[in-house]
Amino acid sequence: MTISMTTLEAETGGAPSVDAAPPAPRQGVWHHLLRNRGAVLALSYIALVALLAVAAPLVVKLSGWGPYEFDQAAIDPNLGGLPIGPLGGISAEHWFGVEPGTGRDLFARIVYGARTSMLIALAATTLTTLLGVLFGLLAGYHGGKVDQVVSRVMDFLMAFPALIFMIAILSALPASNRAPLLVLVISVFGWPYLARVVRGQTMTLTQREFVEAARASGASGWRIVVLEILPNLRSTIIVMTTLAVPGYIGTEAGLSFLGVGVVPPTPSWGQMIAQSMSWYAVDPMYFLLPGTFLFLLVLSFTVLGDRLKDVVDAGERR
């Protein structure tokens, strides 16, 4: 699933329906979510990574080594630059050991890598959600020609081998300032999956009595969309967005892994794993650490999305 959009596609089938009554009140959702052990664990891990990302400079000050500092004393030049000490050089000095060859502190690089991952995933999620909701509402509410155009564009984008095309575009673009480009490319290929669901639900909602009533009382189209339709889409949007986040994190890591994502020396988990490939046989900690952090983050968002969907679905059935 790292990079395939099909995960998302598989999930959309089960997106909450709009046939049911008004959306579950937010307190209810939180309440149910916090009583679920998996969801709490997932939320805690996400909060931890987010905290590391936000406070990266402070955390690194505490641990003593920055992400770009080389510690020649921690590697053994006679062994081709392998870290000195067991488990990839884990010690009181270097909490997660050091990078073989360079001696850069792995803890600092993972903390700063969290920054990259979270920032790109957050930005891509925001942009994708904006585009998806906007075009979904536009197509669903207006119908006709607008719908035709938007739907064709969505079909086109979804029929695309997104990963390969992302690689092709990114490899052709200049290497400077990759982060915004990554966000843009991920979002361009990501929005149709949300837009398709929003469009369908908007079409259903537009036929409902309360929308007709609003229209009869003279509300403008804009007002109907924002005040009558959008609030009813809230749970769908939240669930689908949460389920999409792990895909974006995986995509960023995958692209960085292939060398078309975040450019060194800026650390990113995917890129660290790519670099660890030449060392994996002699220093397994080098790929295990970023690999575990990445795996747990994707897992947490997947679990959270699953639970959120269950809670919202159950709320609508009540």
């Binding site: 699933m1 598989a10 092709a168 490899s171 995958g254 892994f257 060398g259 794993i273 990445l294 795996f295």
Partner: protein, 332 residues
């Protein structure tokens, strides 16, 4: 049916044309000057100019694009006079790095990628669909919980991480498997299997997990449907309820997904082949990314798009035959 096929195929050609146009435009607009790259170290401005004229790089965009398009269908000739190179259709151009025709590079590596893809697909269908059905039948048991947990982990672990973990444990530490190499089946079937089994597993695992989740959810949904309740109420044996009523509708979405995923496997192959060093089309793509060899990247993009789009059309056609609700008559 004929009309449906014609519209579908026409749509396919349209999308393919757009893909070619987009890809070409992106490479035309964004790539650094290929002439400089081909020219190499001992380069003079005259030489660059000559390469440009030979490749037609001095002509306007639409002319180059038309040249590329006609190359795809009827072949093309680069340069003039004794230095001219003929490139027969479908011409995807020449690698900037090796000077080899891109199509030939494809042919040499396609077998490895196809072996990888087919083997992985068999594995993931077996693991995913069977696992999902069993989990749904035995809902709530330890098997269901174990399978569902494994699938949750499976959709979350990036395949390159799994690849490194497996390679470290199975090859480096335990020595049970060899470092994967593309041994041809004809040379040694046993070695062929041992070499490919780990790449298959890694590529299949993510998909298997997705299919397990999807199948389980679909089967459980179907069991709630009225027609299943009716079948049960009229006293049909549980085994027959499963086989005739629950599984078929639950598996239709799986068929759709499978067609698209299989066609899109080239994307997954890029990562797997890179990690394991298998010399297939995916490895070729990732190598050409590092070397900035654009005709090859573009060739891979086009072939991948072609596969995905053809896959989509096939899925549509298959879908109309297995799902009565979307038969053509009902659509109009």
């Amino acid at each position: 049916m004929v009309r449906f096929l014609v519209t579908r195929l026409a749509g396919m050609v349209g999308v393919l044309f757009l893909v070619v146009l987009f890809t070409y435009a992106i490479f035309f607009a964004l790539s650094p000057d290929p002439a400089v790259q081909i020219c190499g170290k001992n380069c003079t401005p005259e030489l660059i100019d000559q390469i440009r004229t030979n490749l037609g790089l001095d002509r306007p965009f639409y002319e180059q694009f038309l040249g590329f398009l006609s190359g795809l269908f009827v072949g093309t000739t680069y340069g003039t006079g004794p230095n001219a190179i003929d490139c027969a259709a479908p011409c995807l151009g020449y690698s900037f790095q090796t000077g080899q025709p891109v199509l030939e590079m494809f042919e040499q590596r396609f077998g490895v990628s196809a072996t990888l893809a087919v083997g992985a697909a068999v594995l993931w269908l077996l693991m995913g669909v069977a696992g999902g059905m069993l989990a749904a039948i035995k809902k709530g048991t330890w098997f269901d919980r174990a399978a569902t947990g494994a699938a949750l982990g499976g959709v979350s672990i990036p395949n390159y991480v799994l690849a490194l973990v497996l390679q470290y444990v199975l090859v480096v530490q335990l020595g049970w498997l060899p470092f994967p190499q593309a041994v041809p089946f004809a040379a040694d079937p046993g070695q062929w299997f041992l070499n490919f089994v780990m790449p298959w597993l890694v590529l299949a695992f993510t998909y298997a997990s997705m299919y397990q989740r999807l199948t389980r959810a679909n089967v459980l949904d179907t069991l709630d449907e009225n027609f299943v309740r009716t079948a049960r109420a009229k006293g049909l044996a549980p085994r027959l309820v499963w086989r005739r009523h629950a599984l078929r509708p639950a598996l239709t979405p799986v068929v759709t997904l499978f067609g698209m995923d299989f066609a899109g496997l080239l994307g997954g192959a890029i990562i797997i082949e890179t990690v394991f060093g298998l010399n297939g089309v995916g490895k070729m793509a990732s190598d050409s990314i590092t070397k900035n060899d654009q005709p090859v990247i573009m060739g891979v993009t086009l072939v991948a798009a072609f596969l995905v789009i053809v896959g989509n059309v096939i899925v549509d056609i298959v879908y109309t035959t297995i799902d009565p609700r979307v038969r053509i008559g009902a659509r109009a």
